[in-house]
Symmetry: D2
Subunit: 334 residues, 4 copies
């Protein structure tokens, strides 16, 4: 018997989850998708033949829906997760849970009290390459000394998107904060950040290029390099240096074909963007959510989602104030 | 509306096609599987919940079945394809069509007269890496001068299997003959072959290691290196040298993770065997069969299947007689 | 007619320069080596048959000596360069010129007034791989956005050496500061640094692992990763990300031989340490010094040497005070 | 005290040996070079300041000359080696010793009777990459099953050269026959060969592209792929497949710099031709000759030179007669 999913949001990510639920993940079925935008709904009806509704409130608590995926705009996440928790419905929420830590902490408290299920949508944790890196680091590297995450997009988003995204660190680096926590198994204690604006389309006051530096509880130093543009394409690499050696997750090559001519030996660029690079990860994420509903580990958890937001906010403050910012400044109120 | 498949044979390959038809290929559904072996049938019932029958004759002509996949032992292929043709049912037949060219030629004639559809199961043509190689060779290399196919298995098959397989060239090299024809777009005109037996489990009189040399209609010289054992694993590489450069299909790496330690930098071995290496190709093959039934190109064709057998038989004769053997010796009777 | 060299210092680097002058660099000859240590002198007499003296003062001004290489302990550099300048003798001085910027600035002023020649011994600038990187960056990358230098030693130096070396950034990172300036053609404006002590042999109060972050005059952000220990060996990589793409200088492989077995495909570790990795660079450095004496460019200059020390001191201060330190704080007095 | 060399021939290879003897190999000095061509002599006088003579007969037996390097046109090799043997002078002779096996066998007999030293100039044996391959094959691979040598030139030689070179197998493959013998430690027992002419500049009746197949005494099958033209450049690779795994000597990369852009990741082409690719090998060859004169192993020996010629002649016959040719047909008369 399949887990019947309701999906809130029919945008790029919501549509991806919907297609995976409909066709690509065994044990999961697509019940209904909610989105206020009629064009987005129509597209999914055409492509997937799914039921749709303009109102997300109709989906939460619908008895035909076993579990929810929240893939709506960020400012709706908290409200929708709260409603799911109140209805006792398991929920997988896209990152970030919210951009206000007080809101997140209230949400996590509520989820804990209700005893419901909340997973955060850090899809990269389900990438088989990153998971392999993490396993080998844990098995072979011993103490971890330095970590580096390179994460560059092929091209900047539309200016209007960038202007509303809450800053480069909240929008883009948030994934890499989680990557560092996932690969090392350590918490971030302090964040420093340097940003610059090098591209014409970047909104005033925003950075399009940033290097972020983290201290971790195990003493390791991590560096994250972000850039909104990369001629090579979507650049996703991780490097971990430790006692036992150095482990690399290189870019994935979409083909094993290479061609040699008078200019040398040429390899293909990496998959163009996250939809292609993390296609398998998105499917595995939905499968993990399915398993979590029936007792499997609910990871990445709500806490994982909170800590990445805390790191991102610390990073934004470090960027603005030009000083290292400790995550203590963002501890949950007790 | 899905293409409803009947599958003849529930062994390793038949089971793989059945699982793909049931779950992995859109527009295709699994109707029934025939196999005389009860254990094999039970396994598929458990795994896929499919209908089964011990008698393949029940499946051919069954009105609930739109198309057939023949994945039975080789000595049944011709009879089953003939029955399918007589019933007007499209058929995808695993390689080899038969090991007797006269039988194949009779079969192709019958299929042509009936106007039915016959595809040969050379799955590697649907491998995205090999397809990329072929495209780039066609676009960038101009005249082709030398081709090399390296094709090695991780470990020899059971001795009893090897003893009945018709020789290394009919069992193993047959795929590589098709690879050469596919990548170059040329016909093979002459085959020479050298074989040796280096492993204890190899049956008397058989080769477990062979290097085969081909002349092609476009003047290129091709070399095929086969071996029943490879410590590195399933080794599948192709190299094409021509006017415009040299193109390589290297082994696929299952992970982009590399680890460096005092012994150097280590990359993972290739996928263990054909089921893993060509997983996507098997799915694409079934999708291409689906499309062929509704008017798409029926390739690899029956003729492609015939020519690979002709090359394999020429190679076996070359191996035995120690001389170059022209494919003219295996031309269809006219 | 050869350039006759006097070398001050017969330690590891002095001995390397002496051997290159004696045998490996055309147009250069070894005249005499000065070192107070009798064993070091005897070794060079045996190996190279060179004249030696315990007193460096005998070499400066000796009319048989056309030019000097200073490869003595750091605390002698300034005095020896000063003596060479006063004698009108061209000098190539190992890094650092001194660890006191006031002393360096006085030295550079004196050299300028005397109109003599001073080169700083940043050997990596003469590495053909790094020079190729710089050329391609200049030609192909356009605006530079992010730079990364990875520079790790195979194993920590003796504890007593580390205790007297002036700190990790002065001893080790100083080369990488120069690498950043060389590859980008920009000046460093600000330095931040994070250090940790992870190895038992590290002296109290010292760091053995550091990540250093630089702002450059062209707006680029550079990161330097240093570590005193690397199981993979001497790890020397540079990566530059800019408008036109991303350029990499990877580790050099001492052999093109790879071996594949059941654990995967194995490549050799990089050359063990700087003597092997930069062997060609040391020869090219001496050849460039030879050419500078007869009118070629005197680069890296004394100013290059000064700026690397300034960056290292800024880095040490950043490490101690936990804040970004601008190089303005280390500007020459005017 | 240096080994004083006389060099017969001031062409491309002779000039290379002369420059190495003059500058690059310790313990060797250049005494005199003989060449009938005045321009070639003048060039060496200018470049190396060496003594020269038009008559090679003046050099053999000159008491100032300790040893000889024969780098003259092939039709002079036998006469010059014979004269050196009669004079009791050690000689390093470029390949081939001669193109007539009877002449070679007479020569080897004479050298053996005189007890003088003869080395054959297979420079690739001194390439550190190939030597590493051989060592690892011997140590790690156990039984050798298949060998492949890829050896392609960047561009065909002048038509007049090709017309006089004795055929592709004698001119080009001869090196690869020696490579197979060197890497495996086995003798060649049988040769088959396929050739084609694909380039406009190839003389009538000659092949410019050939694939040659060898059987070895240890049961291994070896393939040699040759081509007179390669857009990628000088392509020099060896692959050995055996019980313990597969070992590769890939092309050497002249730089560790790679650049990534929208077309992918680009690596540099290999060194342009043999002078660059085997620069270190030529120096090591001269050093080995120096050591052989004072009692070191004289390898590759005259017998090694003979066996490569025998294989080449067998290959030419196989090419002409279209059949496998056993090396027994070319055994020394007894």
């Amino acid at each position: 018997m399949s887990l019947r999913l309701g999906i809130l949001g029919a945008g790029r990510i919501g549509g991806l989850h919907a297609a995976n639920a409909a066709h690509a993940v065994p044990g999961v079925s697509l019940e209904i998708v909610a989105d206020p935008d009629e064009a987005a709904r129509s597209r999914l009806v055409d492509e997937l033949g799914t039921a749709v509704t303009p109102r997300w409130e109709d989906v939460v608590g619908d008895e035909r829906v076993d579990a929810l995926v929240v893939a709506s705009p960020t400012d709706l996440h908290a409200e929708q997760v709260r409603a799911a928790a109140d209805a006792g419905t398991p929920v997988l929420c896209e990152k970030p849970l919210d951009t206000d830590l007080a809101v997140i902490d209230e949400l996590l408290g509520r989820v804990a009290r209700r005893g419901t299920l909340l997973m955060t949508g850090f899809n990269r944790r389900f990438d088989p390459h990153l998971a392999t890196l993490r396993d080998r680091v844990a098995r072979e590297l011993g103490d971890i000394w330095q970590v580096r995450v390179t994460s560059r997009d092929p091209a900047p988003p539309p200016t209007e998107y960038a202007a509303r995204a809450g800053g480069l660190l909240v929008d883009m680096t948030i994934h890499d904060f989680d990557t560092v926590r996932f690969v090392t198994g350590s918490e971030i204690t302090e964040v420093s950040a340097w940003g610059t604006a090098r591209m014409p389309e970047t909104p005033t006051g925003e950075a399009d290029t940033a290097t972020t530096l983290l201290r971790l509880t195990d003493g390791a130093i991590a560096t994250i390099e972000n850039c909104r543009r990369s001629a090579l394409g979507y650049d996703q690499r991780v490097e971990v240096h430790g006692e036992g050696g150095t482990a690399f997750m290189d870019n994935v090559e979409p083909t094993s074909v290479r061609v040699g001519d008078g200019d040398g030996l040429h390899r293909a660029p990496p998959p163009p963007f996250f939809v292609e690079r993390y296609a398998a990860a998105y499917r595995a994420e939905l499968a993990a959510f399915r398993d979590a509903v029936t007792g499997g580990p609910a990871q990445p958890s709500g806490w994982d989602g909170r800590q990445a937001v805390a790191a991102a906010l610390a990073g934004q403050r470090a960027l603005t104030e030009g000083r290292p910012v400790r995550l203590d400044e963002f501890a949950p109120a007790t």
